[in-house]
């Protein structure tokens, strides 16, 4: 884990440094333009104003509460969606009967735009936490379900034969072969699911919340405080990225045997080196 962290750090140092140049220049330009009144501050506040808004929110003690409730909603929704998706994907992945029974129905649900469920969820579950968590769970469900089912179906039949040859069947076969072989696809699904959970928490908090980062967005719009909106956007980006990196690192620990995981990262490092060389 620590090795992976230092590795990520090295990558950021190598590839990230050059990538920071453009955002830093834009930030500087934005600040300068604001200082000279080129941009109306009631529409586009200066970066320093955003930092000040963040600091004010923090000092008022409000910010921590907003972050906390949003994180809890994402976490609960992600957990619920993932749990249901894992069970259903296991059924449809392993058993043809369950797949024929369930998959067409689930696939047809997919064609409904998820936001269309909001009024129904509010009607059924009220405007408080239950409907929000359900919506987020729905968002997290499909990436996990689809990746896991595909992962199970794509387990190498030849490895299953080896296991059968050595007397593995039932639970032992699942534990020793099917689970480890499915893990890379599962982790891909989890990362996709988490990404959508973050997307859906914004929608969920739009539909009537009195706290949360999504509420900060709406509140900033209604009270004409664009600095708060931008501050909330930055926080969404920060926490979305942090949770994804956490999941990726956790995943890499379990699937370090996989060729493509490591080579993909090496390729990324290589590509970063290339851009670096070209820039020099």
């Amino acid at each position: 884990m620590t090795r992976a962290l230092t590795r990520a750090g090295r990558l950021a140092a190598k590839g990230g440094a050059i990538g920071l140049v453009l955002p830093a220049l834009l930030l500087l330009l934005w600040e300068v333009l604001s200082r000279f009144d080129f941009a109306p501050p009631n529409l586009l506040p200066a970066p320093s104003a955003v930092v000040k808004a963040l600091r004010d929110l923090w000092l008022s003690g409000e910010l921590l509460g907003h972050i906390e409730i949003t994180l809890i909603r994402v976490f609960l929704g992600f957990l619920l969606g993932t749990a249901v998706a894992t069970v259903l994907a296991a059924l449809t992945g392993y058993s043809t009967l369950w797949r024929r029974l369930l998959d067409p129905f689930l696939q047809s649900l997919r064609s409904i735009p998820s936001m269309a469920w909001i009024p129904l969820f509010v009607l059924w579950l009220g405007i408080f936490e239950a409907s929000k968590v359900t919506l987020i769970a729905l968002g997290a469900f499909f990436p996990v379900y689809l990746n896991t089912m595909a992962g199970i179906q794509q387990v190498d039949r030849k490895l299953v034969e080896v296991a059968r040859m050595h007397g593995y069947g039932g639970i032992a076969l699942v534990r020793r072969v099917l689970l480890p072989a499915t893990l890379p696809a599962y982790i891909t699904g989890l990362r996709g699911g988490l990404g959508l959970a973050w997307m859906f928490v914004v929608a969920a908090e739009f539909m009537g919340a009195s706290e949360g980062l999504g509420f900060l967005l709406i509140d900033g719009q209604q009270t004409g405080r664009p600095a708060n909106i931008i501050a909330a956007i930055l926080l969404f980006a920060l926490f979305g990225k942090l949770t994804d990196v956490g999941l990726a690192l956790l995943g890499r620990r379990f699937v370090k045997w996989q060729d493509s995981f490591q080579t993909a990262e090496d390729k990324k490092a290589h590509a970063a080196d290339q851009t670096h060389l070209q820039a020099v």
Partner: protein, 252 residues
């Protein structure tokens, strides 16, 4: 010890095997050669219990084979190692029936026998093709099966690695004397290793001829007396090819 009686296998309209009769003695090495599509791999999979015959039976020491059995080991054409397990864990994979504390020493001993002692902690992706196949052989042998089945085990390897693994297999055979039934399209490989060579013809898969190779082992690949058998087997297979029944995939 191993009795194959009247085995036939049909896949829909295709007759893969027809009425195969073969008896293999304890400790005997039998090589099966044949053109592609003659059903030799199917026959091996039936003996392994991975596939059921359409009719006929396989018995091992008078017990019917109806599924994979612990006394039967199988080496596939590809190594088929679990990519998430270390080389040692892959070998231990075959020892699930043994008490936990016995597994590691047995696996390490099996790896040492195939010359992979230093690679026990490596992952399969770090091994060369020949090393991976050796690990697969270690896995098939670690539980000391009474019968070892090999399905073109060396066909994906270069000639050099192939020769060394053939010698290796004979060393192992000398130690444990398992009954071995192996499929190959390499006539020379069959002649160097086998007590008996079975020639199969295709469409439907059937046994065409059998030759007892009563030469002491180890045999030199260039040995003059092997050449006579080689010519006769080639003629057997050539007949099949000229009859339009199969492709000449066998090597000399």
């Amino acid at each position: 010890m191993l009795q194959i009686r009247h085995i036939s296998k049909r896949f829909d309209d295709f007759a893969a095997l027809r009425d195969i009769e073969l008896a293999v003695d304890r400790g005997e090495i039998v090589g099966i050669v044949g053109t592609s599509g003659c059903g030799k791999s199917t026959l091996l999979r039936i003996v392994a219990g991975l596939e059921r015959p359409s009719s006929g039976s396989v018995t091992l020491d008078s017990v019917a084979v109806e599924g994979p059995r612990p006394e039967v080991g199988l080496v596939f054409q590809e190594p088929r190692l679990m990519p998430w397990l270390s080389v040692r864990d892959n070998v231990e994979f075959a020892l699930a029936r043994r008490p936990r504390e016995q597994r590691r020493p047995l696996a390490d001993a099996a790896l040492a026998r195939v010359g992979l002692g230093a690679f026990a902690d490596a992952l399969p992706q770090q091994l060369s093709g020949g090393m991976a196949q050796r690990a697969a052989i270690a896995r098939a042998l670690v539980a000391r099966p009474a019968v070892l089945l090999l399905d073109e085990p060396f066909s994906a390897l270069d000639a050099f690695t192939r020769f060394s693994l053939q010698d290796h297999l004979l060393d192992i055979w000398r130690a444990d004397q398992p009954t071995m039934l192996f499929v190959t399209h390499d006539i020379e490989e069959a002649l160097v290793l086998s007590d008996r060579v079975v020639v199969m013809h295709a469409k439907p898969g059937r046994i065409h001829a059998q030759y007892r190779i009563d030469l002491p082992r180890p045999r030199r690949r260039t040995e003059a007396r092997l050449q006579g058998w080689k010519e006769r087997i080639l003629e057997d297979l050539d007949l099949a090819v000229r009859g339009g029944a199969a492709d000449p995939e066998f090597a000399i």
